[in-house]
Amino acid sequence: MDQLDDRVKKEILDHTKDTPSALKDDIWSQIDQELFQTKSQKEKKRKSKIIPIAIAAAAGVMILFSTQTESGNAFIKQIKDMFVPEKEIIQSIEGNDEETNVNLQEGKDSNYIIYIDEDRYKLVPGETSDIITTKEPLEKRYPEVSMEIKQYTDITPQEMVMTLETDLASEYTKVTETESVSDPVEGFKLHGISGSEWNSPVTNVYVVDNLKGGSFVITEKYFLEAAEGHGARFYAMLQEFKIVE
């Protein structure tokens, strides 16, 4: 670094150094308020909503056992009725918070529910799995964009992860180490990518315990440039994935 560089650096640092500690404290106070104090208040509010849901569930159980006329499916339907049909979520798209309306969808054989951004996506029920894909078909130049939800009733999450690790390694050039995650779902996450071009295929596979000795496998497919778009939207929708026991 020569004399000019030293001089430029000194000038800039001298002109930006006077930050009163009160300002730093003030900024932190605002951040703290926004992120943590508000969060605590929201959590308190959320907790207060648990009671009516519990009462509703208890009522459902009472009706079921007292009348003995409703089928198991009806009971499941009753539980699903406890979820609001439509709600607004806030998702982060390319660093900006976006308010999105999502709609309740019932998964295959009523085993799970998920909320879908129906302005952009649709759930297509299949023989063995459900596929969430773009409402409007993408042009041919784009790789597949989809999120498949499939249940394996007799394969535990651990067994499933081992199989998927092998499958992904043969399909993608780079597969990262499997990790345990708690968000967007509680389970395991596998990630594969082939290349670093805008259209390089990317996959995220989540393995979730179905609580009956089996697994749900959720396979997201998109392309590198869509990571902050479709990737982020899949992530937000998946946060609303709930298994119906």
Partner: protein, 197 residues
């Protein structure tokens, strides 16, 4: 923006201020888990240079405060989308710089600064002679395509590669802008000194 793409092939240790203070995986993990203490620790490590950078870019203490505040909030809310195998500082400073741009454009009711389309406008801004009475004023009167890379280089010591990542530019573009910006400063200084002698 596509962070996974931006940070591919990036290497190195990214430290804030000193080598003793840098973002480590434990703090990141705790922040991901919602720890207020970990986030405060991160804030204490990064606020100094974040405020310096924002003050220099926005040229306004109040705007700098807003930009820094919003940048930290965005980092917390988007931490789940950050890939920890990639350099954290570039991710953080990209968010901060974008916040500065956003506040500046909102304040001035101008379109956001798009450095990628300004390649052919390589002149210093129109300026009065008194604005160039010291080196800092000269820097602050430069066009943003030179000013921002220079500020990032000299405040935080970012490399050309890191600046390219933060500003989403080709590394050669950054190299060229730093070179030309530095030459412009040198010329201005020489002129000033000739006039003064």
């Amino acid at each position: 923006m596509l962070w996974t793409k931006l940070f591919e092939n990036s290497q190195g240790i990214y430290s804030e201020g000193s080598e003793k203070a840098y973002m480590n995986d434990d703090i990141l993990e705790d922040i991901r888990n919602g720890s207020r203490d970990a986030f405060k620790q991160f804030y204490d490590m990064y606020e100094n240079y974040a405020i310096r950078t924002a003050k220099a870019i926005t040229r306004n203490d109040e705007h700098a405060k807003d930009a820094v505040q919003e940048a930290f909030i965005r980092v917390y809310r988007n931490i789940s989308s950050y890939n920890s195998t990639l350099p954290f500082d570039a991710w953080f400073y990209r968010i901060l710089v974008n916040e500065c741009y956003r506040i500046l454009s909102k304040e001035k009711k101008n379109t956001p600064i798009d450095t990628s389309t300004m390649e052919n406008k390589e002149q210093l801004r129109e300026h009065s002679k008194e604005n160039l009475s010291d080196l800092y004023s000269m820097i602050q009167n430069m066009a943003d395509i030179y000013r921002i890379p220079i500020l990032l280089k000299y405040i935080k010591g970012f490399s050309e590669k890191e600046i390219a990542t933060i500003l989403d530019l080709n590394q050669n573009t950054v190299k060229s802008r730093l070179f030309n910006g530095r030459n412009l400063l040198k010329t201005q200084l020489e002129l000033l000194e000739m006039e003064g002698s």
